[in-house]
């Protein structure tokens, strides 16, 4: 016991190589900014001297920065901090690279699509329009109706399948087969989903059917696995204690699921379903196959085809025209439709967040 006390005392008072002191020198808070300024300044000087472009300046500056800041940190702060600073730089770099396409796409679409926006663009269709003029209302309505019908088909099926998998399947043979099939379904190319709908309605209606609800069915083939997967994950997150709490009150299983389990997971389920809608709203290939193209408004999904925004973008961007100014108008219309589509999808994503927050259980604190 006395030995132990002695040892504690010595480690506390004298410098021990195994126990470094608690304080160490630190780089000033502005060190990254100073290093960045010097790095890109140096790189700029080299770039000017050798006649490089902006890309060379940025890349070389980045490389100098990546070496200089950790080196400075290593000299002053030690190895662990130096590694931390280097990894921080790499993480920020990958973040910036990941953001680049997003910013570039948004910027291009807004720049080229915004000029197309006008009252006429949102209030009229393409019936009787040759080249210039008209709007895309028919495609907005078509996208809305086809995705809405697809949602009405796939959300109930998806939620019920997930309820079976989590609450009843309990990893039995049937649920394992189902999970495997859902995984396979997730990987179905959208054009194959379109071919499925096309084949189905060819059998029912004869060759080359044009039916908007067929587009909804093709989209729901793509949506169902997403809804099943997200709902399954959300239901798994509901603690078993809540189920047992309900059972212990003499509540039957089906009421426990509908009144306790699903409400508890509702925020996540709604978010997952909304994201699935956003995911399929931009599908082109299956709709091209079965819903076709149309120049006027059709609000009845069971009667003929429907124009949708992605198909409109595709056809406007690829079809030829008698005069060059028509081509310009068609391209502008395509960019405008792309902007509308992006706004719809982003709106749905925001809606998913709001709805998810609204339905999630509250603590009241």
């Amino acid at each position: 016991m006395a030995d132990l006390d002695d040892k504690t005392l010595t480690t506390a008072t004298t410098a021990d190589p195994d126990r470094p002191p608690l304080t160490r020198p630190q780089l000033p808070a502005a060190a990254p900014y100073i290093t960045a300024a010097i790095s890109w300044g140096l790189s700029g000087a080299i770039a000017l001297g050798l006649g490089w472009g902006i890309a060379g300046w940025i890349v070389v500056g980045w490389a100098i920065f990546l070496v200089a800041l950790p080196a400075w940190s290593r000299a002053l702060e030690g190895g662990r901090k130096a590694v931390d600073r280097m990894v921080t730089i790499l993480v920020w770099t990958t973040f910036a690279i990941a953001m680049m396409p997003l910013v570039a796409v948004s910027w291009t679409v807004i720049e080229r699509g915004a000029p197309a926006f006008s009252v006429e663009f949102f209030t009229s269709d393409q019936s009787g329009v040759i080249g210039i003029g008209g709007g895309v209302l028919h495609a907005i309505i078509g996208t809305a109706i086809i995705t809405l019908v697809a949602t009405l088909i796939s959300v109930p099926i998806g939620i019920m399948a997930a309820v079976y998998l989590v609450e009843y399947g309990k990893n039995n043979r049937m649920s394992r087969i189902l999970t495997f099939l859902v995984d396979v379904m997730t990987g179905i190319p959208s054009i194959v989903a379109g071919l499925f709908a096309l084949a189905l309605f060819t059998l029912l209606l004869g060759p080359l059917p044009r039916l908007a609800v067929g587009g909804s069915i093709a989209l729901s083939v793509l949506m169902i696995p997403i809804v099943v997967r997200s709902t399954e994950e959300m239901l798994k997150l509901v603690p078993d204690e809540l189920r047992e709490g309900a059972y212990a009150l003499g509540v039957p299983k089906w009421r426990t699921i509908t009144k306790v389990v699903i409400p508890t997971a509702l925020g996540g389920i709604v978010t997952g379903a909304t994201l699935a809608v956003a995911r399929v709203a931009g599908e082109t290939a299956p709709l091209l196959l079965i819903a076709g193209t149309l120049r006027s408004i059709n609000t009845n999904p069971f009667d003929g085809g429907m124009q949708t925004l992605p198909v409109l973008i595709f056809s406007e961007a690829t079809k030829g025209a008698a005069r060059p100014e028509y081509v310009v108008a068609q391209l502008e219309r395509a960019w405008g439709s792309a902007l509308v589509l992006i706004i719809i999808v982003m709106g749905l994503n925001l809606l998913a967040r709001v709805v998810g927050a609204y339905f999630s259980p509250k603590t009241g604190r």
């Binding site: 047992e244 212990a248 009150l249 003499g250 009421r255 009144k259 306790v260 409400p263 508890t264 259980p361």
Partner: protein
């Protein structure tokens, strides 16, 4: 209204694994029965088999007889849902329903079963249950707030209120105080004393002082040996158990010499 429970030759399995073997006992009506014993010896498992909560776990099954007032619970014609309406349960960790207010949590047993009741009846039941659980004065001004916003001890008393709101005959408690501080524990022990006049109570506890304080009879569970199923070693009035136990293992467990 309170009922006695007769358990005979009860074997409890998880799949092929025999967890508890050969339990025989009689739980008296309007009394508190405590189960004590080291972890993993099957106290909670036996408790859960008394209201058919055991079979909720996939693969779990029971052999033997549990008879409540002459009715065998494991008879094929018995509906487990009906059993659980008569035999309520409070769990180790408080589990109020997160989507419901305090008010709705108390009424959960009625609402989830779609029982229609007038607003005044519902209000009266909520007040009676919360008073019964010693929680009314703390929450009467915020009945509309979420049940998850309460402290751990309050949540546990809310769960007790929820359990007694369905007016069961028997109340099973699985270590109801293990997550609570001494003050909340004392509130719940007082509550158990009060509830005893109306209900048959079975409580699992790791706290031997608690068993001595609240219970009339005590059952001591232990493993036969490591890897062997658990069994009921001794079942006697609490006074006898804590002063003059029949079994040597009981004595060494109670006196802290093992376990």
């Amino acid at each position: 209204m309170a009922k006695s429970i007769d358990v005979s030759d009860l074997n409890i399995y998880y799949g092929d694994f025999l967890a508890v073997e050969g339990v025989n006992m009689t739980v008296k009506a309007r009394s508190v029965t405590a189960f004590i014993g080291p972890s993993g010896c099957g106290k909670s498992t036996v408790l859960r088999s008394l209201n058919r909560m055991h079979e909720v776990i996939p693969g779990a099954r029971v052999e033997g007889k549990v008879v409540v007032d002459g009715q065998s619970l494991y008879d094929p014609s018995v509906d487990p849902v009906a059993v659980r309406r008569q035999i309520g349960m409070v769990f180790q960790r408080p589990n109020p329903f997160p989507t419901m207010s305090i008010y709705d949590n108390v009424l959960a047993g009625k609402k989830l079963n779609a029982k229609r009741m007038s607003k005044s009846d519902a209000d009266a039941l909520v007040e009676k249950s919360l008073r019964g659980a010693n929680l009314w004065n703390e929450v009467k001004d915020r009945l509309g707030k979420p049940g998850m916003g309460l402290s751990g001890g309050q949540q546990q008393r809310l769960c007790i209120a929820r359990a007694i709101a369905v007016e069961p005959d028997v109340l099973l408690m699985d270590e109801p105080c293990s997550a609570l501080d001494p003050i909340s524990t004392s509130a719940i022990e007082d509550l158990i004393h009060e509830l005893k006049s109306d209900y048959t109570i079975v409580i699992v506890t790791h706290n031997m002082q608690q068993a001595a304080r609240v219970s009339d009879e005590t059952g001591f569970f232990n493993l036969k040996a490591t890897g062997q199923p658990g069994r009921l070693v001794e079942f006697n009035p609490t006074k006898k158990m804590f002063t003059n136990p029949e079994n040597e293992a009981t004595e060494s467990y109670i006196s802290g010499r093992f376990g």
